[in-house]
């Protein structure tokens, strides 16, 4: 390997990339446990499909749009690396192979759209969602990632290199971006049937806790890994991540106890996620005591913020706005207060004698990303809604989207087992389906085919 290469840093970033990858399934479980049983699978697959779509687009053109040399003005990368061409096995980015860097950053591009899905739980057509993911990363995420993450000696993205916004691991590019897009989308799709009236309580809180546990775990890769080296900054980012998360859990639980009289497990899980979100931009620039402060604030404020949707009447189903947009903004702005100048960055916050300068930059960064994401996301959502339709029929929503969109149900715990259903057709029997290259023996069809003709004029939407 060439000079400047570090196996230790490479090991760290590659494993971190794996950790960040795990966050997307983790998110799927976090969200999937929170919905009613009838839309569990849809919720899970909305995250998984982001893994599929974004990874392919990343190789085709996402990487080069985000991390290709700046095409001018700090707005977008050039097309030098379309299809990852021109990236040699041993080319370095800092002390690590470019491939390792690309893998790490890919995982950020995957989870960001997945985060949005929580805002439109239970009611989005799966094909429409898939299309949205592809378009959204193209026109929103890839450019914003360039603005925020592509630092190139002052010739990189405009937020990081021109304006000097501090965003260590993605408070703006990931969380505000996704949170605000969630707001736009849930406005486009409208409220769920029964919003504010039916409880819609989580169908499996253990699944939610599993999700939050995996998110927390993976987030060490997200935050500490963003140092792109296994060094003191990574160590500090790691500690800050842990303690801010811990403090945010306490903040959320305290708020909840005062307000609703109970410490809930969902509050513990949600508080942790709020803390992880808030410390994401800040973990490379604040002290551990600062991280505790940021966590406490984020926990309590997000716990309060999630009730906005009931006041203002938008159905952000799983609180993407209240947790990611609000939490991301808190963390990004508080850098302007708590940045010590001695961790990973030299800019100082208000409390450390840096005056209002950094605070102002942070606020601008937040605002710019929020506005850009909102406008574009809303336009994309509308375009899809007006063309192929984004929202499922009310009947489908009532009966459960899993059945209609995925032809599956999440669980079958009945001891009755086999008896509640019967084989309609096995693949061999379906030999006449279009595109099937079945050999001769379609006649051996074993499945019982139930009589679908008589009277089946309507579907029982329950």
């Amino acid at each position: 390997m060439p000079d400047g290469f570090s196996a230790g840093d490479t090991a760290f970033v590659l494993i971190s990339a794996a950790l960040v990858m795990l966050m997307t399934p983790g998110l799927a479980f976090f969200y999937g446990g929170m919905v009613r049983v009838k839309s569990t699978l849809n919720m899970l697959v909305m995250s998984f499909i982001a893994l599929a779509i974004v990874s392919v687009l990343w190789v085709l053109y996402g990487y080069t749009l985000s991390f290709g040399k700046d095409a001018g003005a700090g707005l977008i990368g050039n097309l030098d690396h379309l299809g990852m061409r021109g990236i040699g096995l041993n080319d370095l980015n800092g002390s690590i192979p470019v491939t390792a860097f690309a893998a790490f950053q890919l995982m950020f591009a995957v989870i960001t759209p997945a985060l949005i899905s929580g805002a439109i739980a239970d009611r989005a057509k799966f094909t429409a969602w898939s299309l949205f993911v592809a378009l959204w990363v193209t026109v929103v995420y890839f450019p914003v990632a360039h603005w925020v993450f592509f630092s190139d000696n002052g010739h990189g993205g405009w937020l990081v290199d021109h304006l000097g916004v501090i965003d260590f691991a993605g408070g703006t590019a990931v969380h505000i971006n996704a949170g605000v897009a969630g707001l736009a989308l849930c406005l486009v799709l409208g409220k769920r049937v029964g919003f504010k009236k039916d409880p819609m309580r989580p169908h499996s809180l253990p699944l939610v806790m599993l999700g939050s546990g995996l998110l927390w775990f993976g987030w060490f890769g997200f935050n500490a890994g963003s140092a792109l080296a296994a060094n003191g900054v990574a160590g500090m980012a790691f500690m800050n991540t842990q303690v801010a998360t811990a403090a945010a859990m306490l903040g959320w639980l305290a708020y909840e106890k005062l307000r609703h009289g109970a410490f809930t497990s969902l509050g513990a899980a949600s508080g942790a996620v709020a803390g992880l979100v808030a410390i994401t931009p800040a973990c490379g620039s604040v002290s551990m005591l600062g991280a505790i402060a940021i966590g406490l604030i984020a926990g309590a404020v997000c716990a309060a913020a999630i009730s906005l949707k009931y006041r203002l009447g938008f159905d952000d189903s799983l609180d993407v706005v209240g947790v990611h947009a609000v939490g991301g903004a808190i963390g990004s702005v508080l850098i302007g207060l708590f940045a010590t100048g001695h961790v990973g960055q030299t800019a100082k916050g208000l409390f450390y004698g840096g005056g209002f300068s950094q605070l102002g930059k942070q606020a601008i960064g937040v605002a710019v990303v929020a506005v850009y994401s909102f406008v574009l996301s809303w336009l994309l959502g509308q375009a899809i809604q007006k063309t192929i339709g984004f929202r499922v029929a009310e009947e489908v929503e009532l009966a459960g989207i899993d059945q209609a969109e995925h032809a599956e149900t999440a669980y079958d715990f009945s001891a009755v087992g086999a008896s509640l259903a019967r084989a309609l057709s096995t693949p061999a029997a379906a030999g006449t389906a279009p595109g099937a290259a079945t050999g001769g023996s379609a006649g051996t069809a074993p499945g019982k085919v139930t009589d679908k003709s008589s009277e089946k004029t309507e579907v029982d939407a329950r």
């Binding site: 309609l424 499945g447 004029t457």
Partner: protein
């Protein structure tokens, strides 16, 4: 007394509950059930095999009422459970010899 049983769509439970309460019935017992009728089931796909699940989820509601109320309660049930689509279910009534409230040991109409 009568035992009135209604097998209805799960989504109608709340409307049924509200209607019964408005009528003055103070208690009921609910069981999850599944039903097979004209509405047929739906198809599910697992790894390249299709199945029809022909038992559709229902709730089964039992209400004990005085003889005099039976007809009206049946009316209330039928109305509040109706969506007009197939699969709306059935309501039936069965004669009851005696009812006891467990807590107090009261018998008959007093026990309702």
């Amino acid at each position: 007394m009568k035992l009135i049983t209604a097998v209805v769509k799960p989504h109608q439970l709340e409307s049924v509950k509200d209607a019964l309460q408005a009528f003055g019935v103070q208690g009921l017992t609910v069981t999850e059930a599944s039903g097979y009728g004209r509405q047929r089931g739906h198809t599910e796909v697992y790894r390249g095999a299709e199945y029809t699940v022909d038992l559709v989820p229902k709730v089964r509601i039992e209400v004990l009422v005085e003889d005099a109320d039976a007809e009206e309660v049946i009316e209330v049930l039928v109305k509040s459970a109706r969506t007009g689509r197939i699969g709306d279910g059935k309501v039936w009534s069965v004669p009851v010899d005696t009812v006891v409230r467990v807590r107090t040991g009261e018998r008959g109409p007093d026990a309702l």
